[in-house]
Structures are given as C-alpha cells and as structure tokens.
C-alpha cells in the first residue's frame, strides 16, 4: 500500500513540477475566460435593458400602431414616431375594427413645449415633447393611475430613465438615492407656446407635479392626461387667427380580442397605411440587437481564442523541445506513447483550469467594478442591473479553459511522444 502511495506521489510530484514550469505558457486563457464571464453576465442584463428601455413593454394581446412612414425595422421606431402622425379619420377606422377590444390613443402637442423643474436649488427649463394618454391605459400598470386626471397641479409621467438621471444627479451632489415614490408630487411647470395673429409668442403656463416614472411606453417625452391637451387645444385653436388643431395622433395602443387573429388585424391595419408592432416584434427586435451583441462578442472571443491557442501551441512546442530528453527517457524506461500524450494533455488541462478559475475571478472583479461605476460613466445605463456570474459560469469557465488548453497542447503532445529517442538520449 505504501508503495502505491509512493507511486502516486512520484506521478503527482512529476506532474506538479512540470505544471509549475509550464504555468506561464497559457496566460492568454485568463483574458479569454474573463471576457466570456463578462459577456455571459452582461448578456441577460442587456437583453432585459434593451427590451424594457429601448422597445418598451407590451402584453401578449397588445399591439402598437404607428404611421406607415415610421419604419418598424428601425430599433428606435417608436422614438422617431413623434415626427409622423395618424389622421383622425384613420383613428376612427381603427377604433371600428371589430377584432380590437380597446384602443388607446397617444397624442402629442403640436406646439413648442417646455418643462421646468428644480432640484437642489438648480432649476432648468428644457424643450421636451409632451404626449397625452388616457389614465385607463395605466390601469394595472401604475398604482396611482386613478389620480392621473386633468387636475391642478397637472400630473406628469416621465420616462423611467429620467428617474435614473435624477438619482445620478443626487449622487453627484453627495445625496442619497431616492425611490420613485419620493419624487412623487415634485413640482414641475409646463410651458406651451402658442402664437397670436401677429406671430408673437404667447406663453401658457400650467403648474404640474411629478406623477410617476414609466417604462411601459417608451415615449421620448413627458405624458400628461389627454383631456388637458384636447381642452387646451380647443381653447387656443384660433390664437393665431386661423384654425389649428394643436395636437396630432402619433401612436395607438390596442388590445386584440383573440391573439390568434393578430395576423389578420395586422394585415387590416397595414391596408389602412399603418405599421404594427406586437410583443413578438419587440422580441424579434431584441433578438436582433442581441444577435449584433452576440456576433461582435463572438468575433472578439474568436480572436482571443485563436491568439490563445497559437500562444499555447507555441509554448507547448517549446516545452516539448526543452523536455525532449525527459520524454524520451520515459519512453525508454517503459512509458507508452498514449501515456505521454495523456500526461501532457492532463498537464495542459490543469493549467487551463487554473487560468479558467483565475479568469472567472478576474471577470467577476471587473464586473463588480463595472456595476459600481457604470452609473457614473453612462447615467442612462444606471438602471442596467447586472447579476454576477454564478457557479454555472464557473464550471463553464473551468471546462472551457481546460478543453482549450488540452486541445492546444494535443499536437505538441503527439510530437513529444514521437521524439527520436536515441537522438535525444545521445545529447
């Protein structure tokens, strides 16, 4: 029994010594695995972020209806939709489609609009598009939906990223972060600029208050109750001396009675000169974004992989030549070719796994660093929640790095097992 332990000790000692010597050879795996860990951790977070912050959220039976001019192929179709409009007649036709259950319209002020807010003594008045939506749309989506009515102060819903920006501003001022509820009731002021018959600007001011933040519809502006916009426009339709409606329909959000009929509804809407986006379209868009991310990541991984394999291959080839004497002596003393190859590949696998583990730790460290700093670098990405790589990724990193290293060492290992023994022994 003791001699078996001794034999194992000899084998481990021998491998251990060689592993220590060859450790520097596979350094490239560290970078590769770190990148893979970062990529895998970011992938899901980016997917969620893209889905919610860029394309908005839709229920399975909800569809967004845009003017045809707005290409739905564009990732930012909804953002560009603010410049196109749907005619009131088309809106009426859409409302009459029997397969549609409810249709919510999104209107936009056709006047120059600005919103003023003040935080920590610093105020600013910025040009911002103002949209109108019915409160019933927010039922089940916003806990305060009932209060979203045309009252004084006027409730205003801001896009979710504004909340992140505000918190980022507070952080820059050394203040603690606030929850969305804490911003509720925050005083705002809406400016709508109409013109008198002489073309002179008329400033119409309405006191408002922050109502909530939303990522349900990804409109690039604030949302106020439709009633307010309709009444305001009715009141000011002849300010300039000629009739101006004052608002336009930029989007409709409808629920379909039967999801299976969605293709029919889409065809009907297209025949009205409209474009349709469903949850599937959003998923498709998200997938296309992910494809771009995946493709570019795969290119980087591929380049790192090729460089790593070449460097490991070269290092092991050098190791083979420097250890030719040792290999040939082993062959002479009775070690088979396959055992030389296995030993070499095992050695490479252990080294690979060591770097895989190290790469996992480095990747996680970089992830920590990124998570704690991303808000400072890109405020809009503060809502990007990144989860640290778990044990699944650790096992993947170990397996991947061990495989890469052993495959890279395979050909040098075959060289090692075929060294001209007597030439090597003569040296």
């Amino acid at each position: 029994m003791i001699h078996i332990a001794q034999n194992i000790y000899f084998i481990i000692k021998n491998s251990g010594r060689n592993i220590a010597k060859a450790l520097i050879s596979s350094f490239g795996i560290l970078f590769l695995i770190s990148f893979v860990v970062l990529y895998l951790s970011f992938r899901d977070s980016i997917k969620n972020y893209v889905e919610t912050n860029l394309f908005g959220k839709l229920a399975i039976n909800e569809i967004k209806i845009f003017p045809q001019k707005t290409s739905t192929d564009s990732f930012f179709a909804t953002a560009s939709s603010v410049n196109a409009s749907i005619s009131p007649e088309t809106v009426k036709k859409v409302r009459k489609i029997p397969q549609l259950d409810k249709t919510y319209s999104v209107i936009r002020f056709d006047y120059d609009t600005r919103v003023r807010g003040e935080l920590m003594g610093q105020g600013s008045r910025i040009h911002v598009p103002v949209f109108g939506m019915d409160r019933s749309f927010f039922k089940g989506k916003d806990p305060y939906w009932k209060n979203f009515t045309n009252t004084e102060p006027l409730p205003m819903i801001a896009p979710r990223f504004v909340f992140e920006l505000l918190n980022n501003f507070l952080a820059a001022m050394g203040m603690p972060a606030m929850t969305p509820d804490k911003f509720r009731g925050f005083p705002l002021r809406l400016y709508v600029f109409t013109e008198d018959p002489d073309g002179k600007e008329i400033r119409n001011v309405t006191e408002g208050a922050a109502h909530s933040f939303t990522d349900v519809v990804n409109l690039p502006g604030v949302i106020i109750p439709t009633d307010y916009i309709v009444r305001f426009c009715k009141k000011h339709e002849k300010d300039s001396g000629t009739y101006k409606k004052g608002y336009k329909y930029v989007m409709l959000i409808s629920t379909v009675k039967d999801v299976k009929r969605l293709p029919d509804v889409a065809a009907k809407l297209k025949s009205l000169g409209l474009a349709v986006e469903s949850r599937d379209d959003i998923a498709e868009k998200t997938n296309r974004v992910l494809e771009i991310i995946d493709d570019s990541s795969l290119v980087i991984i591929g380049i790192l992989l090729i460089l790593t394999v070449i460097s490991i291959f070269n290092s092991y080839l050098t190791i083979v030549y420097t250890r030719a004497h040792q290999f040939s002596l082993k062959r002479v003393l009775g070690v088979s070719k396959i055992r030389i190859i296995m030993g070499f590949v095992f050695e490479a696998a252990v080294i690979g796994a060591i770097y895989g583990g190290a790469g996992y730790l480095v990747g996680n460290w970089l992830l920590d660093y990124f998570i704690s700093n991303v808000g400072k670098w890109v405020p809009a990405l503060q809502s990007l929640t990144v989860e640290k790589a778990g044990t699944g990724v650790l096992f993947l990193a170990l397996a991947l790095s061990a495989s890469i290293s052993s495959v890279s060492a395979l050909i040098p290992a075959i060289f090692a097992s075929n060294i001209n023994l007597f030439k090597a022994m003569k040296k």
Binding site: I2, H3, I4, Q6, N7, I8, F10, I11, R17, H325, Q326, L329, K330, R331, V332, L333, G334, V335, S336, K337, I338, R339, L421, F422, M425, K426, K427
Partner: protein
C-alpha cells in the same frame, strides 16, 4: 530474444542490412562498429523503440512489433533495462528515487523497495542514496544507472557505450559489475562498446560494418584489439623521433 533479417533505413540510407541475431540467456554480448554504423539503431530495434523497415524481433515466439505500443512499452519496462554513456538520470530525483523510478511507472506495479535497498547495498550506494545526480561522480552515476536498469529484474540489459564517459579505473569497476550482475541476476547484456576489456571478456562479439552484422571469433577479436594499440605505439615512437630531430636542429 531473436532478431530475424532486420533491415533499417534512414531515408534512402541503409543502416542495417538483413541482420539476424539471437541473444542467449545469461550471456554478455559485445557489439562494436564505427560511429554511425548502426549500433544504437540495433539497440533501439531490440528494445522495440525503433521499428525496422524489414524483419522481425521475436521475444519468445511473438513479434514485438505486432504488439500495440502500450504492450511494447510494458514489455520494455519489465523485460529490458537500459544503460547509457551519459547516464541519463532524472536530475530532480535523488539516487534512490532514480533507482526506484522504473518500478513506479504503473500505480499498481510490484513493490520493489526491498530490491532497491538490496541494490544500494550491493552496488555500494549507501552514502549517496539521498543525493541528486548533479552532486555525483561519473562512476556513482553509472552505478545508479545500472541499479535503475535492473530494478525490475529484466531479462536483457542494453548498454550503449557504458564506459565511454568514465576514467580507466572506474570503467574497469563497472565492467566487473556487469559480469557479476549477469551471473548473479541471470541477465543478458548487449553492450555497444569500444572498450577492449568488455570485448575480451564478452561471451560473444559482433561487429557491424556496412550495415551487416559479423560475428568476430575470440582470437580475431584479440588481434583486432591489439592492432590499434600497435598503431598508437608506432605513432608515439615516430612523434618522439621527430621531436628529437627538431631539438637537435635548434
């Protein structure tokens, strides 16, 4: 062990041509020949490390080159011992570990520690057993290499110029050791050598020339060994005479 009609080539160059040889048990065979004549190649073929292009190497009734590499390696580990001119010990192992090394290649191999202890006593290696090769003399290194070669009780030991790197006295001691070991352990030795002591005492002597293996009879071998000595003496005499003449001229 038998070699039957073996031919070996390096590229187009024929190294061995239709060589046949039988290694009897418990015998010492000397193998001589010029550098590059194919002596080491023949040892490589006998050990199953180099495959000949033609012919067979039989161990018992089996051609060792029909075995898988794994089986051939096991055969080499159990039945063949090697001794080299430059000792070829593993530098990171002590003398004791080097001796034991061939018996540790398989995890479940036989326990050879007692044999190792016995060989250390027998070959007088007690004082250096825990020393590393870098601290040992040529004679000590070769004795450790001999112990390593016979630790697994092989049937044949193949020695490639084992005294080529040793001084006269040490070489003589090593030669004695070969004969003693062959007798005591029932081991055959095939020794590639230029050492007349080995050639003179060997049970048989073969010479390789032009790829062919020629058996040299004992009397001829003695003559062949004397000839270079005569030449050397004549050369020394001639040089001495030339040196005297030049001194006189001055």
């Amino acid at each position: 062990m038998k070699i039957e009609n073996v031919s070996a080539f390096f590229g187009k160059r024929r190294i061995l041509s239709d060589v046949s040889l039988s290694v009897p048990q418990k015998s010492i065979m000397a193998l001589t020949g010029k550098s590059g004549s194919g002596k080491s190649t023949l040892l490589g073929i006998m050990s199953g490390l180099l495959k000949p292009q033609q012919g067979r190497v039989l161990y018992g009734d089996e051609d060792i080159f029909k075995w898988l590499d794994f089986k051939r390696s096991r055969f080499r580990n159990s039945h063949i011992g090697f001794i080299f001119q430059f000792f070829n010990l593993l530098p990171d192992m002590t003398a004791y570990q080097n001796i034991l090394y061939p018996s540790t290649m398989k995890i479940f191999s036989k326990d050879r520690r007692d044999e190792a202890e016995y060989l250390i006593q027998h070959l007088g290696l007690q004082t250096i057993r825990n020393q590393y090769p870098s601290t040992l003399s040529g004679g000590e290194l070769q004795r450790v290499a001999i112990a390593r070669a016979i630790i697994n009780k092989p049937r044949i030991v193949l020695a490639d110029e084992p005294t080529g790197n040793l001084d006269e006295t040490t070489a003589a001691g090593i030669v004695d050791l070969f004969f003693e070991i062959s007798e005591q352990y029932n081991i055959s030795f095939v020794i590639v050598t230029h050492d007349s002591r080995i050639v003179n005492r060997a049970d048989s002597h073969y010479h390789i020339e032009g790829g062919s293996l020629i058996r040299v009879e004992k009397a001829k071998a003695a003559q062949a060994q004397k000839t270079p000595e005569k030449k050397r003496k004549a050369y020394v005499k001639k040089n001495a005479a030339t040196a005297k003449k030049s001194t006189k001229k001055k």
